[in-house]
Symmetry: C3
Subunit: 404 residues, 3 copies
């Protein structure tokens, strides 16, 4: 396929394209998703890390009609799901796969999911991504709030994106940017749009999410966001460790109290373990940036999740070290909020408000730490952020879950 | 119905002028919706108001796969949504747009809506049309009735139509008729079909809906219908007025009581106004026809909604004069019923029954009143229907909403 | 279209294909459903019963995007619905149609159904098949169990199948096998897959279902299955009879008690009859096989439903002899369980458990009994299975439905 510059519908992009980027519209109101590919070779980019972006559609089962965008940056391969909130299905560098093996094997089209099913747990029928967007009207466990059943972790993961565009810088390092917009709208209820953005550079082992939530409405509105970022082997294993600059940590519930002493280390796949969750308030640097790390027992392989605490002030560590088949996985989850139902989080000050026309930016960086040097460097950075500051370990949950 | 001429290719159209009409199947069990157009020029119709009918499909977001039929009658442009109950998305004559700006910007495929979500308010996630069909098993606010949660305004707006056909008279005035059938069927519960029909004539500023509800079942069955017809600027503005021949008017609820004195005039977009609703029992002429009008403050521009009270005996005036962003809109809503939950309306005699194999016809006419002359003429007609008959203004709601 | 052997993705099928079968992939992750046909003539099979398999897609209404596979074995025509759990829509031999006329006329895409709607009766909006798969996480009437609303008869009928393959033996009798896989998966909740299989032979009046349920999870899990097999005229009529080797029969509820004396005979379409249901525990032969028969009054036409009681130990006889329009139909329903909500069936021992990685096989045979000879032969077989063994007729239901 010869390179195309699609300048027809997006004026601003078109203008930019003449300057210094290649721009493509992959999906829009008048443009259906269809098999498509662009490669560095087609673009005439000479590089020892040839890259490509490919669009495909899944068929059969509950994944009928689901679009996938595969980005191969020459080193890291990423799969993004426009049909499911621009979630990142997986990322891999060689044999190191960021992501996990959920019992849910299909990439499920939201058309086949009832979020209100299973008492508000319908979300579980589609949950299998590396990064699952949660929000933006609410996150957290299902339950009643203001007379309405809030379903698990909100709608974002089950909102198909529109206006999916690809942007490749015309000069080195040829940054690749994939954007898609989510509309979360209901008359009298909510008028949000989320411009999602995923950026990676050819040859790198890193990608970033830069999301912008806009309240298009005329009234201030509560919102919540949580980036459910899920990892398994080869990072997660018996003796694997989690590190972060921690201001406060507390057990999510009574079950998590029991393992509090070991909250930063992981078990092998453990029958009947189910899950424990720890609520973390991280320290950040002067710019608000912080870093969290998951690494294997040997400290020779890891991943880091960095984020800005100005809009993502808290963090949940989800330790689902049950059996492989049940889903051996840990979630590193920066958020506005913890995973309690919204009504529990209001008193904690974790249900922020977005003003009319205001925008909130959420920035998260994911990096593979491919060797001991990379792991140590990240841990050193965490140590620098922590500095001499104390960690408060709370022995009891922040909320009394026995009170509905 | 006259025999159909199935003309698959545009090339064959020229030969289609033998009977008295051109007929096209746009969508059927064995015919997928696809880009298509027919124009008066292609039909060999010589007119100073060239007309066309176009079919298109939307992509991306929650509107993936939604079909739209655009009718340009030479003067008025209409958009009909087969995927959403043959709802009329909008109609416009020049700059005068019938319809409104909902926070819901997508034309949402019902596959992505859970009507049972948000406590039965899931319907609000797709509500943005000029005419939204409500019914036909029930209309009204969500709530329990006979042990079942009735979701807001029933299913009609979220039933995709089958057998969408286009019929154009072969002689002047070349009336254009678009039909689509809605099936509202559930074993043991309901066996309705609704033959919807929209008719407009080239060059006119009017369209009509002629719907036929059939109870295919062997048992009598309760039904309700309401045509949620929604207008904003340039008709709705501060000082705009509503007129109708009124037998009785009453406030929908306590909030509406407060503005009862001004129920026929409108506010500018008003922060925190939310909505008021007035229940109207209209007078009609000897044939049962009645007319309602919304016009701007100057009386120089308006719309009329006429309907037959034999099957649509009551009317709701929905005044949602909140901010523009929240949805500045008023609904002129002929119906079998008001907008209370069905269980409130049975004692009011507003839950009619349709006998086995019986048909009920619903006829509504929409006209642009393009100048003062047209507005005055419509108001005069309203005055003639009212005649000397009295209007009863009830100060209290017809039902006690404090009693569930 | 020329015959193709698609050997690419399915290793086992590919190997088989070289040996003694034609194999086709009709639908898979990377292969969309599309119009397709294969005929015995194309395969070079010389037979006096030419056979064919055809795939088509439905459009319009709630059936948009539904795939149908039509199998004409030369004598019997079957229609299978991959989009709806590989359900068998109907089967016919000449004028004898196995199946029924539901008020639901569309073959409804599950994307348009909310199983949780109507208080858990949303399933009724799509119910119209000859064989509707019920299960596999649960079957039975809606109601709360373990704090979750179980919707009517589970999800299987509304799970679209993936990996739909067709297998035709390359030698006489050229058995035709259609397979499709259902995934019933939700994180932390269930990890089932069901390999469905329908087999028929050219020229026969029989087809068989051979389904295999696999618990892919690491934990034992409750499951239930019920094959809702539905027949109407010409088999069902006033005086039609049901026969089976019966160990125990009991009325489902108080209403069924009243007609207990006539539980094996049928009424004409009867206004306001609604339905009666009888719970049957069948006898089987030494291999666990049993047989049930429905035949017309004259005993000259019938159908048999045979199954293996090792995994389908009980049977429900559903007598819905209401009016034709309401759905004049009887269900012959082999199952793990009766049609009570799951919480009622646990004390009856009818909620079995499937171990991790275990498989359960469900085998059901459907045959047209085209004349008196065939009917008599089937009844004789039933008599042989019953032998001298007694039938217990219980006068009261097995469960007390007044206790929730």
């Amino acid at each position: 396929m010869t390179p195309l510059k699609l300048l027809v519908t997006l004026g601003a992009l078109g203008a930019a394209s003449h300057a210094m980027a290649w721009d493509y519209v992959l999906l829009d109101t008048d443009k259906a998703a269809q098999p498509w590919q662009i490669t560095s070779q087609q673009l005439g980019v000479k590089t020892d890390k040839p890259f490509s972006v490919t669009m495909r559609t899944l068929h059969g089962g509950r994944q009928e009609g689901v679009s996938i965008v595969d980005i191969d940056n020459g080193t890291m391969k990423l799969s993004v799901v426009p049909t499911r909130g621009m979630n990142v299905l997986q990322a891999s560098v060689g044999n190191a796969r960021m992501g996990w093996d959920s019992p849910v094997k299909e990439v499920v089209n939201p058309a086949f999911i009832e979020l209100n099913g299973r008492g508000g747990l319908g979300w579980l029928e589609g949950f299998n991504e590396l990064v699952t967007r949660c929000g933006y009207e609410w996150v957290g466990h299902p339950g009643m709030d203001n007379g309405e059943l809030l379903t698990l972790h909100g709608r974002a993961a089950n909102i198909p994106a529109n206006k999916v565009t690809l942007h490749i810088d015309e000069k080195a390092p040829y940054a690749i940017t994939l954007r898609g917009e989510l509309k979360e709208q209901a008359f009298k209820k909510v008028d949000f749009s989320v411009q999602t953005e995923l950026v990676t550079e050819p040859g790198s082992v890193t990608f970033a999410l830069n999301d912008t939530l806009t309240n298009n409405g005329d009234y201030p509105k509560e919102y919540q966001a949580l980036y459910h970022s899920n990892f398994s082997t080869p990072f997660l294993e018996q003796g694997a460790r989690f590190a972060a600059p921690v201001k406060q940590v507390s057990p999510f519930n009574d079950k998590a109290k029991g393992d509090l002493a070991d909250w930063q280390t992981y078990r092998a796949p453990t029958k009947d373990y189910d899950e424990t969750v720890y609520n973390v308030v991280p320290y950040a640097d002067a710019k608000g940036d912080t870093l969290t790390v998951l690494h294997n027992k040997a400290g020779s392989l890891g991943v880091s999740v960095g984020f800005n605490t100005a809009t993502l002030p808290v963090f949940s560590l989800w330790k689902n070290t049950d059996t492989q088949g049940q889903g051996y996985v840990t979630g590193l989850e920066p958020g506005t909020s913890f995973s309690y139902n919204r009504h529990y989080q209001r008193p904690l000050g974790l249900v922020p408000t977005i003003a009319p026309k205001e925008q909130k930016h959420f920035q998260i960086h994911y990096s593979l730490l491919a060797d001991k040097g990379a792991v140590d460097k990240a841990l050193k950075r965490i140590g620098e952020i922590q500095g001499e500051r104390k960690t408060e370990v709370r022995n009891t949950p922040l909320v009394d879950l026995s009170k509905p």
